[in-house]
Amino acid sequence: MIVAEQKPLNEIKSMLKGYNKVLAVGCGTCVAVCFAGGKQEVGLLSASLRMSTDLDGEAVNVDEAIVQRQCEKEYNAPLEAELEQYDAILSLGCGVGVQSLAQQFPGKRILPALNTKFMGYPAEHGVWEDRCQGCGNCVLHLTGGVCPVSRCPKSLFNGPCGGSQDGICEVNQEAECAWHVICENQLKLGLFDEMMEVQPAKDWSSARDGGHRRIVREDVRIPDEEKA
């Protein structure tokens, strides 16, 4: 899932300067699961903003709303009727959710309350780890189910860098060396010999380096003449 975390309250307050009536809009999908932008977090942030701005003597009226999936316009559509009464929308969606609202409601100020971090794995309750950078060309079949792009700080493709010690990454002492885990997994799978094959330099054009990405699936597209 997409993992995000809330921006510091003061940063959000700075963004809201000059706005008196704000609608905080959460998302009931990824950011709800990672406790960043679900109903509870919308409530906590909205209450915090109301209280803090009240104490500052510049009270901002913050109302609350949540949509099931902020990245899809069909779910956001019911918001439109009430948006007129608000000076700004504070989105607790991921970056996609914020942009969806901005695209769907042009002319309305949409502000991000979260920092979107990565596509992550919930390692334990309250702990999320980066697992995918969306590089566009998956190599997990070659690397024992461990992603060297997201889990190796250097995104190496042909073994560890030499800086790791006892299976711990030299860049982050709290992280396992991705290549240490890859080698162990390949050994368990009886596929260690595959590691001898040198991987060519990765073509990063399938990742964000290739520019703005887009997928078009004609088989599921609705023809123009059938669109409402």
Binding site: P8, L9, N10, Q40, G43, L44, A47, S48, R50, M51, S52, D54, L55, D56, G57, A59, V60, N61, V62
Partner: protein
């Protein structure tokens, strides 16, 4: 008690704070009963909300109580390791800690919320713990939040 009354009382040095106490029915709520049965008196400031377990008290409810003008909010659960639902009191403690962090960023004193651990047999300790908390809140003075957005208590 209205906001104005509270402020007025503070000026008169007879400020009676409003303290919400989220009490687990297995321990603190029963301890309050025991204190009452034993004719022990405790502050009338305390407004008890009975919960099936303090694990039911979430951060939002604590924050909302403070937003609506409570001067203090206590969460009172079982002694460590004795929760009837295994770790409800531990979760509550984490949440109170979380709310304290939120209060710091909001600009309200973190001492306005507190986790209390107590057993059903500790009537006297219930009185002692809550007397101490009420005294702490009294020392802080009335909450500057009126409970109505845009209506800060000025001069308090």
């Amino acid at each position: 008690m209205s906001t104005d009354e509270k402020v007025l009382n503070a000026d008169d040095e007879t400020f009676v704070p409003e303290v919400v106490a989220f009490c687990c029915r297995h321990c603190a709520y029963s301890a309050a009963d025991l204190a009452g049965g034993g004719r022990m008196s405790y502050s009338p400031s305390i407004k008890i909300v009975e919960l099936p377990c303090t694990g039911r008290a979430n951060s939002l409810e604590i924050l909302h109580a403070l937003e609506k003008g409570a001067d203090g909010v206590a969460v009172a659960g079982c002694l460590p390791g004795t929760c009837h639902y295994i770790r409800g009191n531990t979760q509550a403690k984490h949440r109170v800690t979380h709310v304290k962090e939120l209060l710091k960023t909001i600009g309200l004193e973190e001492e306005r919320t507190r986790m209390i651990n107590i057993s059903a047999a500790m009537g006297a300790q219930f009185v002692a713990e809550f007397t101490d908390f009420v005294e702490t809140v009294k020392a802080l003075g009335p909450s500057p939040l009126s409970g109505e957005t845009g209506n800060t208590r000025t001069g308090s």
